[in-house]
């Protein structure tokens, strides 16, 4: 993979905040168009890693390289965590997408057909035409997420970072957003790095997983990484990777015993248990 220009290379990245290690020698690479889940529980360092890639947080050691060697700006699209859009703001969904295109530019926005076309195209790509002229703060969570994805993608970045985009979404919106991101990452050739505390909605879509625990990471294909031996070594204590009803659950040893007991009591509803 090192022969092809990677969309993102993270090499032994370390971050300490207030003397506490947040990231410990995190290393992984993303190829263009790859769809990668950044999985870990709250406090595992996901947001810090994304912010470090954006250049908001400085590394204490290690390196982060983007496709052309620069940080942020044109090559990175970003959808932040739990963004609360003010319903009072006079901004339509299409204005938010237009701001993704040229919101950083100085001077007043002049009307331009090309710009309007680019925005229209992007609204279509995320399936937001129906509510393009509605006030963005009044849209549903799933609709807002689509608009923010369009905002982040409209400049055709090589890398798209999303911080917990599936939090606060219902099951159906979650599946729709994952499918949308998967399709767009292929179409636009953008590598997607998406953080989530639950890997299950992403399992069918992920090319690659970066699993974070206490600031350390393992990266690879999901079937290589989400295994009892690998994750136990990462956590530093024994965890079990349990598959219940087609879902993957990572549990500490005691909890996994309880799950086994529950399954033993109700074997009818249990498809596959290791």
């Amino acid at each position: 993979m090192s022969t092809v220009a990677a969309a993102l290379t993270v090499e032994r990245a370390c971050v300490e905040l207030g003397g506490r290690p947040i990231l410990r020698e995190v290393s992984f690479q993303l190829a263009p168009g790859e769809f990668c889940g950044l999985i870990g529980s709250n406090g595992s360092g996901k947001t810090t890693l994304l912010r470090a890639i954006l250049g908001f947080v400085r590394l204490d050691s290690g390196q982060i390289r983007l496709a052309d060697g620069t940080t942020a700006g044109r090559l990175v699209g970003y959808v932040p965590q739990k963004i609360a859009l003010d319903p009072g703001l006079p901004l339509r969904a299409r204005d938010v997408v237009a701001l993704g295109l040229d919101g950083a530019r100085l001077g007043p926005a002049l009307p331009s057909r090309r710009r309007a076309e680019q925005v229209e195209q992007m609204l279509h790509a995320v399936g937001a035409e129906a509510f393009a002229d509605q006030r963005v703060g009044l849209l549903s969570g799933g609709q807002q997420q689509r608009v923010l994805v369009a905002h982040a993608l409209v400049r055709r970045p090589r890398l798209l970072l999303l911080d917990e985009p599936l939090a606060n979404l219902d099951v159906r919106s979650t599946a729709e957003i994952v499918a949308l991101l998967r399709r767009l990452s292929r179409e636009y050739g953008a590598a997607v790095l998406l953080s989530a505390h639950d890997m299950n909605p992403l399992l069918p879509a992920m090319d690659r997983i970066v699993y974070l625990a206490h600031g350390s990471a393992v990266a690879g294909k999901a079937e290589e990484v989400v295994r009892t031996e690998v994750l136990s070594e990462l956590y530093g204590y024994h965890v079990d990777v349990v598959r219940v009803h087609g879902r993957v659950v990572v549990v500490a040893a005691e909890a996994s015993d309880q799950i086994r007991a529950a399954v033993a009591r109700d074997p009818v509803h249990t498809a596959s248990v290791p």
Binding site: V76, P80, G88, P90, L99, L106
Partner: protein, 265 residues
Amino acid sequence: MFAPFMVHAWLLATIVALVSGAIGFFVVARRAAFPAHALPLGAFPGAAAASLLGVNQLLGLAVFCALGVLVISQLQRGERREVASALWLALSLAAGVLLLSLSGVYAQSINGLLFGQVLGVSREQVVSVAVLSVGALGVLALFARPLLLDSLSGELAAAALGRTGRLEWIFLAMLALTTVIAVPVVGALLVFTLMVGPASAARAFTNRPWRALAGSVALSVASVWGAIALAYLTNWPVGLFVGLLGAACYVSGRLRSAGAVAQAG
């Protein structure tokens, strides 16, 4: 109403309304009503200090505004913006009490600083305000898009610009410049009305950002014109009508929003 001595008043008030209405759009978009109150009011002791030292009032306002921007922008990194603004207001008003007691400024000129002095302005004052206003509107036009993006989300703006925090600083500096322009004319207390009333009304009537900005400017100018006309007809103070019309704008906006929500729900 349009006698020669009134022409300067109309001109000056119009310029001030243009600038206040424009910056007001961003004040409301950024939910920065409190800093927009604290900076002008916190700058008014600067004018008292200027008269104590015998220098131009605008200079005193400018110095206190700059101090206010510095205190608020530095403090709000650790604290919330409201806390930073409140602290600045407390500090500057404390200084103001002292300065007023030392300088022995007449109650009449304090009244003018708080509630404005539209009538009896000189040609020179109109020119200096016009020059400052062109500058202020120019800078605002330059940063309009980044400021709007930053109002939507600071994180998104930081990702697009590759750095954080710079825009809040620019916004506060613009607020300070508006203060210097507007306080001598509409007063430290009433400039706030002119920034918040028209802007919050305008955004209730449109979903388009630049239309809301234009609407805010239009309502602001209309409020000031209405206030001068009513004051001329009734012989009551201009400030009364600036305040009343600003509040009327705000209430109409709230009614419109409530109507829109009721319709949607």
